[in-house]
């Protein structure tokens, strides 16, 4: 499952943040997304995941093949680790949560409500969710926040296993995961606030922004 991104422009709050982005994410590939805070990494990932429409360009991958891991883990505090994982597994039609539990070293915690987990344990549970989606393309936004060195190792192992099985991952992170990966620096694609007119807006007016500015 290959994701090809052509001439993509994404906007936040109606204002372009990234323009003319081109890259490919092939099966077996890990792409590290780099860029300073506020440069549009999250906006890009949300657009790729299909949560918001791009203002221009094309994404070849079907959102059905993508899973998105955000800052927020989507965990329910009153549900146990097992219940949280089982829920996402059945939503995605996956039968077993065992590999996810083992992969992120959650075996001793399965019956604990996630409210009683530490920040790092919660994060591990959030990442374990990726393994029960069964989807080939992972889009991850700062996945290693609040993880200790050992847990980062677990995460890196999970990513390696995932790409070895033909999956792919696009990861926005500031740390070195120790994974064999390519880098995508979005710095050069930052939208020039003055160049809004070049973006063909979905209204069909090339000079759309000019109309307002």
């Amino acid at each position: 499952m290959k994701m090809k991104v052509e001439n993509l422009s994404v906007a936040r709050g109606g204002v372009p943040v990234l323009e003319g982005l081109n890259f490919t994410l092939a099966p077996g590939q890990v792409l590290i997304l780099r860029g300073p805070n506020g440069s549009g990494k999250t906006t890009l990932l949300r657009t790729l995941a299909g949560l918001q429409p791009p203002i221009a360009g094309a994404i070849s991958a079907d959102p059905e093949n993508i899973t998105y891991g955000a800052h927020a883990d989507g965990l329910k505090a009153t549900l146990t680790v097992e219940e949280n994982l089982t829920f996402w597994a059945s939503v995605h039609g996956i039968d077993t949560i065992a590999p996810a539990v083992e992969g992120f070293n959650l075996s001793g915690l399965t019956h604990r409500p996630s409210a009683n987990l530490s920040a790092g344990q919660k994060r591990r549970l959030g990442l374990a969710r990726l393994l029960v989606t069964g989807r080939p393309i992972w889009l991850l936004d700062e996945p290693t926040v609040s993880l200790d060195v050992a847990s980062v190792g677990l995460f890196a192992d999970a990513v390696r296993a995932h790409v070895a099985g033909g999956g792919a991952a696009l990861i926005a992170t500031h740390i070195d995961l120790g994974i064999d990966a390519d880098t995508l620096d979005i710095g050069p694609f930052r939208a020039d606030p003055k160049r809004g007119r070049d973006v063909q807006h979905r209204d069909g007016y090339a000079d759309f922004d000019e109309a307002f500015l």
């Binding site: 709050g13 109606g14 204002v15 506020g38 606030p193 922004d209 000019e210 109309a211 307002f212 500015l213």
Partner: protein, 244 residues
């Protein structure tokens, strides 16, 4: 040249700027004579006395209250389908005028109702429907006010306007049913058509035309302001982004 040309904010601003003074002039030229004619040069009605003359405000404002919501529905649909900014800003602009018209209709109705029926308020189907319409306007405007991002606000209020229209219509039928059901044969009829004689009819027509023109003038002014607000919002965001 198609009508959609004016969906472009620049073209709309240019044209509306030129048209606006003429619309205002026309509104004044119909509304003032209509009101003066209606208030001072029509005979007093036998049964109603002077109070009947409030129809020159009451009837046009009530008509506008409903028609403005209908216009908002159309412009909201245009935004949803074709995403023309002027359209949805016009809907927002119209809401404020619409709610004002609704309040005017309710208040003049109450003032008129007191000498006519001996009460300021009755749960007559028509009165009740207007009260409900007022609530719908309030909700629509409150949603606009609550959302910061202009495009998100435009999308959500349009969805609300469309769904709200269906429920407003349902409410109208429900209210008719409800009142007939409990108070068989309502003793108060607000049906003006029966009462209005020709002497009152012509100035009334003039007043209605005046209210329509007044609405067009006001909605143009408000829409222009709304478009400038969007522009201001975008400028602010860009400034913030330059700093980042």
């Amino acid at each position: 040249m198609s009508l959609w040309e004016f969906a472009n904010p620049v073209k709309f601003m240019a044209l509306s700027g030129k048209v606006l003074p003429w619309v205002i002039a026309l509104a004044v030229l119909t509304l003032v004579p209509g009101m003066v004619w209606g208030f001072f040069f029509t005979p007093e009605a036998v049964n109603f006395g002077n109070s009947v003359k409030i129809i020159y405000i009451h009837v046009p404002s009530a008509m506008m209250a409903i028609n403005i919501w209908a216009m908002m529905l159309v412009t909201s649909l245009i935004w949803i389908v074709r995403r023309h900014h002027v359209s949805v800003r016009a809907a927002k602009a119209a809401a404020l005028i619409g709610v004002t018209m609704t309040v005017i209709a309710l208040i003049t109705g109450a003032i008129w109702g007191e000498p006519m029926w001996g009460t300021y308020w009755a749960w007559d189907p028509r009165l009740t429907s207007f009260l409900i319409l007022f609530l719908f306007y309030l909700g629509y405007m409150a949603l606009w006010a609550a959302i910061e991002d202009p495009d998100t606000a435009a999308d959500l209020t349009s969805v609300l306007c469309i769904v709200g229209s269906v429920f407003a219509l349902l409410s109208r039928y429900a209210v008719n049913f409800w009142n007939q059901g409990l108070h068989q044969g309502a003793s108060l009829s607000v049906d003006k058509e029966e009462h209005v004689a020709d002497v009152y009819y012509l100035p009334l027509l003039l007043c209605i035309a005046g209210f329509v023109l007044l609405f067009v003038a006001l909605v143009l002014i408000r829409t222009r302001t709304e478009l400038r607000l969007v522009r201001l919002h975008r400028l602010e965001i860009r400034e913030r982004m330059k700093d980042a």
